[in-house]
Structure formats: structure tokens, C-alpha cells
């Protein structure tokens, strides 16, 4: 498996009340950590905020110190062309191989015409190998 292509994602537990996102992003901002992508999943009472940042270890450390409930998980970052059918190709490759996408979120890349897809799957290393094989470049978001 392409170990160096696995991305670290920060997961933060937050009760659904005003100010939680503000306090968490304030910590990141004060420590010069850049958020590359993020998404919020919520149940109504609580949510989890998932961040991909330029320095995951530092983010984890600072958030923990500030009393947040945080953890680090591995996800895939995948470069895809910002054109019709791109997500279809990726999801077909995964489903044909029995890999389930648990969640995914995307953002526009700094490279023109490209998008970055952050993806969590039932079998992450199998997904990484498969997608590399199929010619989808895995990205690393380094500082």
C-alpha cells in the first residue's frame, strides 16, 4: 500500500451549540495552521468536524491542549479532474471492487481544472492501491 499517500484527518467532537466551530478554528488560526478542507456531520445534538490541515500533528496537539475531544484518522486525498464524470469513475472503480465509501468531501484544487476529493472507505489501503493502479493520483497536503 502507498503508505506515504495516506492523509491524516483531524476529527473533532463538538456539541451543537454556538461558538464551538469558532473556538476550534481560533486555535488553528493562532497556531498558524491552514485548513485545506473540512466538513461537518451532525446528529442535531452533537457533530463531528473533520479537518484536513497542513500540519495534522500540530493541530491535534493544540486542540487537545485546549480541551477538545479530538482524534486523528487516516483518509485518502485524491486528485481528480474538475469535469463531468470524474466522481463517477472513482466510485465505479471502488464499488466494482466491493469497497464502500463511508464519507467523502471535495474542494477545488489550486491547480486549475482540478479538484481534490477526501475519501474514507471501508478498506482504505485496498482503495489506495486500487486507485493508484487506475491512474488516479493520490495527493499529500504538506505544509
Amino acid at each position: 500500500m502507498v503508505q506515504n499517500k495516506i492523509l491524516k484527518q483531524i476529527t473533532l467532537f463538538a456539541e451543537n451549540k454556538p461558538g464551538r466551530l469558532t473556538s476550534a478554528t481560533k486555535i488553528l488560526s493562532e497556531n498558524g495552521i491552514n485548513i485545506r478542507a473540512f466538513t461537518i456531520a451532525d446528529t442535531g445534538e452533537f457533530g463531528i468536524i473533520r479537518f484536513v490541515v497542513n500540519d495534522a500533528d500540530a493541530a491535534l496537539r493544540h486542540l487537545q491542549k485546549a480541551g477538545f475531544t479530538v482524534s486523528e484518522t487516516e483518509v485518502l486525498g485524491l486528485e481528480m479532474s474538475d469535469t463531468p464524470g470524474a466522481l463517477f469513475e472513482i466510485s465505479r472503480a471502488l464499488s466494482e471492487n466491493g469497497i464502500n465509501v463511508d464519507y467523502a468531501y471535495a474542494y477545488a484544487s489550486t491547480a486549475p481544472g482540478k479538484a481534490i476529493l477526501i475519501l474514507q472507505a471501508s478498506d482504505l489501503s485496498k482503495a489506495a492501491d486500487l486507485l493508484t493502479e487506475r491512474g488516479f493520483p493520490l495527493v499529500q497536503l504538506s505544509p
Partner: protein, 432 residues
């Protein structure tokens, strides 16, 4: 004014006290002879039956506690062999150890007789239809009322708790004149009736509520009485005493406690008797129970006792409204819940911390309990479904121990109060 047994219900106070004294002496002698539990308990307190000659000697006897019943689980405090027991009831205990109570034929008869007097004092009798919507089964509420209603020759409708729209249609179709249930459940029935376009006040024969097993205020009594067009009576009794036993009378000012079968005291924080009418903890000695006699049993309920002739003509002492608990017990839909039970469940779940907070609220007429727990970092998943499953798993385990539904809410670590005091651990938003 109707009485079930006017001779005993109107017996002058001094004669009642003489009767209590005689029965107390016999109780202590029997306990010493037939109960290994009490023999040992009296022995270590240096008490022999000869020390108890009058009611003034009562404070010499050591107290018994709910923990004694738990420590001697299942039947270590019983005073008769199993072949004389005709029924068990079981309630959930404070740390998952249940409390077992047992009855001889005579115990069931005394229990029913107490209720027969009480129900008569609520104006019920032959011709009435009493819908018993307390839980049947191991809980004493349903079967207790059932036997009491049959004793007075009224018609019992043993519907039990739940299936609310059916409660309404049977109430209407069978001409129910009295409902026996928790006050919050009766309010709920009233709401369901309204949604079914049944006006309880004008389209049913309901005129009496026998309501208890949870704290309720005079305000909610007023609301129930006005919205349903009935008279609502408070009922008191716990499984240790037998089950539901005593109710108010037409005066609706105090619960008549039948003194020929139960000897009641009120004590202060130091275990000393308080003056009549002063507030304190209720302590009960059973004067007639055979299977499981209780001597100076600490009820944990804070109330006061008034012994004077009632305007209804009854002479037995009255338990005034229960004003709270000495311990941290909370009552949810008629079921006793101790925070320690919740703690014991949470200790077995590594994904959450040991701190918790219980929020009790009344949503519509129903009690809803939410247990807030802190999620630990190791349990934090990036998949939100895993956290929802965790909440559901904790809720299921709580339900198994508490016998009542609890909603679980995960909160951030470090956000719940660290004090062990009840005021912080239990937030009761119910307006009772």
C-alpha cells in the same frame, strides 16, 4: 360518609395506640424468634424483646434500610418459610440488585383491606368501574389496586399501563368511573382523548383519579381535576410496605395511614423523633406483615405526620404531602432511579467517562430522562454512525438496569460538573 370498617377507622387515638403497642410487642417477639436477620440485628444493638414494652421504647430499636433488603437478596429478611409465601413482587434495585418482597395469604388480605378502606374513603364502591392503568406484573401497583378494587365489590378493568388510545375507548365504552395510574399518565390519557375527540368531562363517566407513584404538585392536581372534571386523590405506599396502601379522603388534605397495620414515625437528620407536624424522614414499622416484617424501615421520603381527627371522621394519622427524598433517588414514570445505578452501567462502558448528568423533564405529560455522558478520545470515531450506535448501546444497557427508557446524549469531555452532589448530577426540570 361511607366507611369500609367504621369501627376501626374511627377508633379513638388512644385505643389505636394501645392496639399498636400490643402489636409492636408481638412483632418484636416474633422477629426475635423467627427472623435470623432481626435476631442478629437486635443482638448487636443489645436489645431483647423485654426492652420493648411500650411505644416510647420504639426508638431503642435499630433502623432497617433498603440496603438491608439488597444485602440479604433474595429472601434473607423473610420471616416465614417459602411454603407460606403466596406471591413475590420484585423491584429494580439501586445497583442492579433487585429487591424481592413476599406475601403470605394474610399479608395479601391485609394489603387489600387497607386499600378497601382507602378506596372507600375516595368515594368508590360497588357499581364503580375502576380502570387500573398501573403496571401489572412484578410492580406492586397493578395487582395491588386490582385486589383492592375487587375487595370493595367494584368492577376492575385490569388494563395495565400503555396503549393509551385503548385506555380512552374502553374508559368510554365500559363506563369507567375511576382511573388508577400515575398523575402524568392520566394527563397523557386526557390529551389522547382530546385528539380522539372524546371529551372526558362530558362524554365519559370518569369522576375519580387514584393517582400516585410519582411526585406531583397541588397545581397539577388542580389541572387534572379541571381538565377532566374529576376529583383526584393522592395514593401512597411502596413495595416494602406491600404496595400502594393509603389514600386521601374527601377532605383531600393528608393521606390516612391505617395505624392498626402500620406504625409511622418521622425522624430528623440525626434519627431522632420530631414533634408532630414537623418535617422529616418517614420511618415505617409493619404491625401485621408476616412474610417480610419491617421494623423501623427508613422510607427515604421527606414528609410530616399529623395525628388528629379528620373532618371525614377518620381518626388515623395522616401523611402530609411528600416533599422530597433524603437520598438522591428520582422517580421517573413511577419507577425509582438512583444515580448510582447509572454510574454502575457507565463504568462498564470504556467509550465514555465516569461523569454524567441526568436531566429529567416532562415532555407533554410524560417524564423524559436524558443521561449526558462525556465521550472519550479513544471512542471518538470519524464516522458519526459509530457515535450514534454508541448512544443507542448505552441507552439499551441503561434501560435493562433501570427498567425505564433513557435518552443518551454524548457531550464534550470536561463539560459535565465534577461534584458528586445531587443538585449537579440531577437536573429536574419537571414542575411538580
Amino acid at each position: 360518609m361511607e366507611f369500609w370498617n367504621p369501627n376501626i377507622e374511627r377508633l379513638p387515638e388512644d385505643e389505636l395506640k394501645q392496639l399498636q403497642e400490643r402489636k409492636l410487642r408481638r412483632l418484636v417477639e416474633n422477629a426475635f424468634e423467627y427472623s435470623s436477620f432481626y435476631k442478629e440485628r437486635f443482638g448487636s444493638a443489645g436489645i431483647s424483646p423485654n426492652d420493648i414494652r411500650s411505644l416510647e421504647d420504639l426508638p431503642k430499636l435499630p433502623f432497617t434500610h433498603k440496603t438491608d433488603l439488597r444485602d440479604t437478596y433474595p429472601t434473607g429478611m423473610f420471616s416465614v418459610p417459602q411454603r407460606q409465601i403466596v406471591r413475590f413482587h420484585v423491584s429494580s434495585g439501586t445497583t442492579g440488585v433487585p429487591t424481592v418482597v413476599g406475601y403470605t395469604t394474610n399479608d395479601i388480605d391485609v394489603w387489600s383491606t387497607c386499600l378497601a378502606r382507602s378506596l372507600t374513603a375516595c368515594g368508590l364502591g360497588r357499581g364503580d368501574v375502576v380502570q387500573v392503568a398501573y403496571g401489572y406484573g412484578l410492580f406492586t401497583g397493578g395487582l395491588g389496586l386490582h385486589y383492592g378494587v375487587e375487595k370493595i365489590g367494584a368492577t376492575v378493568l385490569p388494563i395495565g399501563a400503555g396503549s393509551t388510545s385503548r385506555q380512552v375507548s374502553l374508559m368510554r365504552d365500559l363506563g369507567t368511573t375511576a382511573m388508577a395510574c400515575t398523575p402524568s399518565y392520566l394527563l397523557h390519557i386526557g390529551e389522547v382523548a382530546e385528539s380522539m375527540k372524546v371529551d372526558v368531562a362530558s362524554q365519559t363517566k370518569l369522576r375519580v383519579g387514584i393517582l400516585g407513584a410519582e411526585p406531583w404538585s397541588l397545581e397539577s392536581r388542580k389541572r387534572i381535576e379541571q381538565s377532566l372534571g374529576i376529583t383526584a386523590y393522592d395514593i401512597y405506599g411502596t413495595s416494602e410496605m406491600s404496595g400502594p396502601l393509603f389514600t386521601e379522603c374527601s377532605a383531600q388534605n393528608g393521606i390516612h395511614a391505617w395505624a392498626d397495620h402500620f406504625l409511622l414515625e418521622i425522624i430528623d437528620d440525626h434519627g431522632r423523633p420530631v414533634e408532630q407536624g414537623k418535617k422529616g424522614e418517614l420511618v415505617v414499622t409493619t404491625l401485621s406483615k408476616e412474610a417480610l416484617p419491617l421494623i423501623r424501615y427508613r422510607m427515604g421520603d421527606i414528609t410530616s405526620l399529623v395525628w388528629e381527627e379528620c373532618e371525614c371522621g377518620r381518626t388515623h394519622p395522616k401523611i402530609m404531602r411528600v416533599q422530597g427524598r433524603v437520598d438522591d433517588m428520582i422517580v421517573i414514570r413511577g419507577i425509582n432511579v438512583f444515580p448510582s445505578q447509572i454510574e454502575s452501567v457507565l463504568l462498564q462502558i470504556p467509550e465514555v467517562g465516569d461523569h454524567f448528568q441526568i436531566v429529567v423533564d416532562r415532555v407533554g405529560p410524560l417524564d423524559v430522562m436524558t443521561v449526558k455522558v462525556e465521550v472519550t478520545e479513544s471512542a471518538l470515531s470519524d464516522r458519526i454512525g459509530a457515535l450514534i450506535l454508541l448512544e443507542e448501546r448505552i441507552a439499551k444497557q441503561l434501560q435493562e438496569v433501570l427498567m425505564v427508557n433513557a435518552k443518551v446524549e454524548l457531550v464534550e469531555r470536561g463539560t459535565l460538573p465534577r461534584s458528586s452532589g445531587k443538585s449537579q448530577k440531577v437536573i429536574d426540570l419537571r414542575e411538580v
